[in-house]
Amino acid sequence: MWPYLVRRCVVALATLWLASSLVFLALLVIPGDPASIILGFGADPERVAALQARLGLDKPPLERYVLWYAGALRGDLGESIRYSSPVRSEIARGLSVTLPLVLVALTLATLISVPLGILAARRAGSWLDVGISAGALLGIVLPSFWVGLMFIYLFIVQLKLPLPTNFPIEGWRDPQRALLALVLPILTVTLSRSALLVRMVRGSVLEVLSQDYVRTARSKGLSERVVLYKHALRNAALPVVTVLGLEFSQLLIAAVIVETVFGLPGLGSLSLTAISARDFPLVQGIVVVLAAFIVLANLIVDLLYAYLDPRVSYA
């Protein structure tokens, strides 16, 4: 178990290094630099060069790359060009919105879709199954920006629920309003994510129920309940856990859209502004943090997998 864990961690670190290096290269290649964006229509080449020097962008790329890593290893992700504040605190600010959004939505989606999926699988072909599957399909095809806007119209404009459509200017210092502001975004994300999960759970359970060992268990005269919960579900959970891990990374990306619609200052909208402002240190920092989360989620999935399926070996 331990050598396996160590190996996984090494791979994880290598992934982080690769991801951040690729982003560094990408930022070198794409046109546009922060100085000319800050100067806008007042830009003239001399002025741009002066500002670049002030921002330290006139240094050769290799030196910037080495400097950045030297800082990152000490836990210093540099200073945001756009906000002239530490990248670390900008990312923490973004995460304080995105993490609750993503984690709550993922938990809710799991809680909703697992029972629904099992129900649909057990009554495969029934009207109930058709209804659940059709609902799930709808949830998959409806784009989340549209769902978000419809939620605003339905719940806030029509039903006049006392929910804000965007985050308070005080941020989390106004915790009640901040929480209320997250309700509809969480619902929006939950809807689109559960749709996918329901189909996944249903398919997985159906697959398992058709296996020989289930037939054996049934022929032994075990009750349907025991067959399902003792034998089938544990196996059906394997692909679902994998999907949940993938979902987490998908969610961080899907959050960009939802955060835009609901005016949330999360990591998604932060990365959008960072990229459009060519805020190199901020983009770099966000990528590393996102990659770290995704790598971590995959690691947890692998460990869960091992727990659920004793046949997985660590060798």
Partner: protein, 499 residues
Amino acid sequence: MTKGWFWVLVLLLGLAVAQNRGGSLTVAIQTEPTVFDPSQAAGADIARMVYDNVLQGLVKRNVKGEIVPSLAERWTVSASSLTYTFYLRKGVKFHDRTPFDAADVVAKFNRAKDPDTKRSGHIRPELYRDIASVSAPDSYTVVFTLKQPNQDFLFTLSLPESTIGPRERKLEEQRVRPIGTGPFRFAAWERGVGVRLERNEAYYIPNLPYLDRVNFRFMGDGDAQLAALRAGDIDVIAYSMLPENAQILSRDPRFKVFSGSGTAEAVASMNNSRPPFNDIRVRRAMEYAVNKDELIQGAMLGYGTKIGSMRSPGEACYEDLSNFYTYDPNRARQLLAEAGYNAQNPLKFTFTLAAEFPYERRIGEALAAQLNRLGVVQVSIQVVDFGTWIQKAFLAADYQMTIIGHVEANDIGRYANPNYYWRYNSPQVQQLYTTYLRTNDPKKACDALKAMQRKLAEDAVSIWTMSLPALGAYRANVMNWPGASLSPGILLAEVYLAK
């Protein structure tokens, strides 16, 4: 008896004022600026929020776009037009309670004209190049001496870049929390969410401002703005509202839609130094091939004003050239044929659009469709982000045709700069602009400016598609909303909520 009536009047006036006072207003703004000090970064959004509301200059541009006194009560100009003397308002305090006086003005403009931008942190020293010296004979008088007459000197002083902060204030602090003398003080900035301004209790004009608080919220998405307005989370969509949302809201009595005049021209630029647009016949063909009325109807649902040169109807010395080229596709084809293009050998070029600007994008797409309709032109549209646009199109002039809104007022002088991104080099226009800038006769200046507009149209330098509307909406109880965007700022001091 008369004395009694006087007091009744005072009481009534007091009541009227009390009626207007108080409340908070939430305004949607399209993009979040990088900093909030207009002397340290470009961007119209900075000025929209802080100009005159937080940061004030010696003079300002009011809602009508006129230059009026602000921190200077009055000024005199010497007969030579070389000396400007400003008499400052007394008893003015900055938001940090330090008193404002002539030393702040002198410090500001010495910093502004310093060509070493690395030291000064001021992004546009070229604006102040004509200032030979600035001095303060006493605490409330400031004297500017110019190297040569400059017709735009007062205009320059009315720019957001010319606003004045406390002389001891650190630049890094002013960037994120600007301190000025305006009716509102800058209270909070939550990244990615918005900005809060609070009433300046010590404002030097009694009873102003009316509002206790103004929140600006950064909301880029037009539909999200509409939803937030209907949900009651915002009170005003300040500008750049989508035309179709304007139509929806104009049917709803709870809201008022406004389409004010502005200083933003949507300019489809042609690169005058490169094929195919270094050929004046091709440029003129483009002018004849564009149906501006149809563009305004089709792309903007009728919001927008037809123009024919680089000036908007609300600006001084405007020359109406909107019908200089009447829509005439046959004439366009004929000119293209003269330049060697026909159906077998069509004119092909790339039209670069910046993704972030909804108006310009839809106008650009409609314009490309009109050109393609000729049958002799094949336009390929390329969409880039603003960072790329600035680098490639604006700085390197590496483009053929592009479109962008030039928001600034009085920016026609850029056509006199041969290095500007449209790469238009006309000694005649440069001469006219010098005449305008260096004369001290206002009539002569205006004549030169009008001649310049005509010459630009004759040379078909760019396609000036329309003067963009200041299109927005507010809740019906919002009073005195400025509407037009002829001032760089959204002037809020006199806005109030009806009770």
